[in-house]
Symmetry: D2
Subunit: 307 residues, 4 copies
């Protein structure tokens, strides 16, 4: 069989909204099945290379996962003066863990993902994501509900990274986007820790979940800072929020970000540096107004949901 | 991993014309690659079960291949009084061979397909098609260009079945739909043999290739009889033509068809019987007029091509 | 503005089943709106010319409405020895009326369609369908529910043609596919009349409604005869059934059909003649078996529904 | 006819690349035709409201045209100390003109668009875009090739805004993205003027045209500043570049931007202000590297082209 596949007949349909569908050309379906919690596809798309797809949603792509994972992890890690103990909720691909372990200061990284099958598939099929981070002696992997785990644990953490699937109505992550969960996180961080969370699409006409997460975190923490990066495979801008009782990434100057990267990070970052840091937290007027306008507090009783 | 796959995100696009595309939901991609001659996909669709797809075109589906293969093989076989030696051009799935070998009269069936890789994939992945016909001692399989093979062979055949892929511009079957090829076939059949050929879509607004093949065969043979069956996975009516110097399927009465099936066929036919036979050769007026109007003779110099 | 439109960016999606969608290229949207009963689109497709679309389903196309309308009307009309009084339930485009009025024997044709807006749109935009049949002095048009109209009428009819939209769950035609409705029809036909009905897709893997309508009519009438034609714009075979206490189209020989067309029909038929008649009623074995197997009687309490 | 249209059957396909297609649901096709230069569609989409589509590409949408047009016009206008004479190349919708005329300093705005039919359609169907800007006494509209017009004109301008369709291979704008054209622009601006240009997609994996335009402008002008904003209807980040012999928008502080808006702009800006200004010019590391790496100079002989 020849190497190239000129076939243009298989497509992955990403239903962005009832009114908008994107069709990604599939070069190869590497894996397709269902875990105990969700449907799982690993497909090689013509546009973005290999993609992990859970419940029909692209989680990350070979082409641009670095943009997403550096954005999720680095602002919180570099805002903290000395992150030693890190907790990751979710993070199945292992790339969040990879970004955390690139920090020389880290002594222990606890990752809790509910879906062991997905993590095993990622270990097998996505080596470019995890780069063997799972085998780092500082890494500790548990398969459990991250909220329950955190609630029952007596550990404290310097940084908590929340890297979960969308809050689908029947999905496993719905109650990990609520005020109640963030209260638990706050308790584990104490006065000196910082969290960051992937916070759904953050675009004009599609920012309700992003602004509600930011609003909820502002209620729970003294400081909450929304930010955004563009992830091509998601066909748009993705939101994140850091939250802390004391730490504020917007107070760290670009030069200081660059200096901390130099001294603390053991690998080359491809997207994140001082200027990138400054740009992500600089939000245009029409989105700032949406952030100011959305007062919603997400609770266990009234959780958000993604399309 | 659970059994069922509720995922609705992978689609196979069948480009029927520049103005019409069908999207078939994919449950599973069983195989995807390229042989020396064509792209090959074996996909499990939600609508038609497992399908063999060559160069982006569905060749046959688990759900309805019996309609296609019985229609291709049985009229010629049952019109012949005593088919002992049968030649198959193409027929990669092995289902044409299966239909031929169901005839107790058959002593030898020679199948010549250009694409060994496709035949091997069919043997492996499509057992419901071939039902081990490849292992029948009466079967003889060659991997070669069927036209060249036939030209160089000194054998004579009672029945020749032509079961080729569409005449794509760059495809391997283009020169097996021409007057020159049919002249070779005629010579191998002699006065008493009969051929049948899959002859492309046979619908109002999409019958040019069907009527041209019928017209060409009428030029080469004394008797040429176009017929049609509905194959759901092809989303329409498919054309066939029998041709012979002496044998005419429309002269075989339904009761005689049923009697010959009884005495000569060793398995149950699911679609074909006397009435089915009568129906397939009864073509409605508007298509009869198209058959009468198309005088085109397909030649090596001016071959037809499929979209 | 130039004449030709090379644009390939607008598509009509015909959701044939949850697992199969067809995309027809739109050249022009002629009309788009909602009547009191259904959504209405009149679009010019690249593949089939102008199409009437109700509730997202193609009702008929410029390219092949003649196949559908001749098949719906002519078998019943020509089986009847002297059709003078004809009733049409539905038939908004006016093409069913056109086929009825082509019969010189007809003295009165009563058409009852529920949707006046649709009929007016068809009069305006689909002149090639109705050919001014609405203005024929023998035609009488009422806007009402055809079942209620027939129930309250004291008229008797020689032929009743039922040309309704699909039985959609919320659609206006649901209770016009039931035993109770057919009993009313039988009463209006008496011993000597005949009805015909469009009876949904009639394909292998998609024949449940067709076979249930046939089964129900067999229960109500002494004679019920299912038949099928291929309508390209519907991407498949369409079913019909005639029913009568005394008249049987399969007993009319092809030559007799041709003779009756000659003496009774005042226009050229493009698809229907004696041979076409014979072909449509000749159903292949696998569909005959489905017809025999489906014993369902459709009732007002348990109506059928279309996807 | 009812107001709402629940129909989900008409789609606009935006072919973003050979490997990615977006389907936008169409609520209504307002206009569809061809001008002398390009195909023209005005469609009401469910996701982004009314959209102007030229040669199959969305030019701007009701939902977010303000993001695009403020970004195209305001940085150059507000970086200039006193813009009185402004030239617009293209700008058919009239929204670019609207943004220019919102500046109290402007005495004359010359807009040159090649396509009179498109401009007339926009005047008629897109009042929310132009807001009668065409009727402002300071506006002067010409229908001509903007390059030829500028070449033959002896006028000088303070600001030149280049708002053209994509450089399609057969399209009208191909030679308005070249070094030769930018040399003409430079001459008309003199030492103290500034230009801005819409510069195609500006995303990781899709930035070749953006970085080539920036590279070409850097060659022609002393100062060239690329920037980006997110336009949801384009499903991504859109690039722009300002260029000048003396003026540098990145040297204008956010507070100064806000002050200039206050004193010089007669309407409320929805997206643009000091912080938005700072954010747009702050480009992340991976895109900065692509800008640095692309040394291509676009010329009349070797123009760029869009998919």
């Amino acid at each position: 069989m020849k190497d190239s596949d000129p076939d243009k007949h298989k497509w992955f349909s990403d239903h962005i909204s009832p009114d908008l569908t994107a069709l990604h050309r599939i070069k190869e379906t590497i894996y397709s099945g269902r875990s105990k919690f969700q449907s799982v596809d690993i497909i090689n798309t013509a546009g973005f290379g290999v993609c992990l797809v859970l419940d029909g949603k692209i989680q990350s792509s070979e082409a641009d996962e670095f943009i997403y994972h550096e954005a999720l992890v680095q602002p919180a890690m570099l805002t903290h003066p000395q992150p030693e103990r890190v907790f990751i909720a979710g993070g199945g691909e292992g790339a969040t863990l990879r970004e955390v372990l690139a920090h020389k200061t880290v002594k222990k990284a606890v990752m809790v993902d509910i879906d062991e099958e997905v993590v095993n598939l990622c270990r097998r099929f996505l080596p470019a994501w995890h780069r063997n981070a799972f085998d780092d002696p500082r890494a500790e992997i548990h398969f459990a509900d991250a909220r329950k785990y955190l609630e029952q644990s007596s550990d404290r953490f310097d940084v908590i990274i929340i890297d979960l699937v969308d809050p689908l109505e029947q999905g496993p992550a719905r109650l990990l986007y609520t005020r109640e969960f963030y209260e638990i996180v706050k308790q584990k961080l104490g006065r000196t820790g910082i969290m960051s969370v992937q916070a759904e699409p953050a675009e004009w006409k599609n920012s309700d979940n992003f602004t509600a997460i930011a609003s909820t975190l502002k209620k729970v923490f003294r400081i909450a800072r929304p930010y955004r990066v563009h992830v091509p495979a998601f066909l748009g801008l993705w939101g994140f929020v850091t939250a802390s009782q004391s730490l504020d990434p917007t107070k760290v100057a670009p030069e200081e970000v660059d200096a901390r990267i130099s001294s603390r990070v053991s690998k080359r970052l491809k997207s994140y540096d001082g200027l990138t840091h400054q740009g992500m937290f600089t939000i245009p007027k029409h989105i700032r107004q949406q952030l100011a306008a959305n007062k919603r507090i997400i609770t266990d009783k009234e959780p958000i949901s993604a399309y």
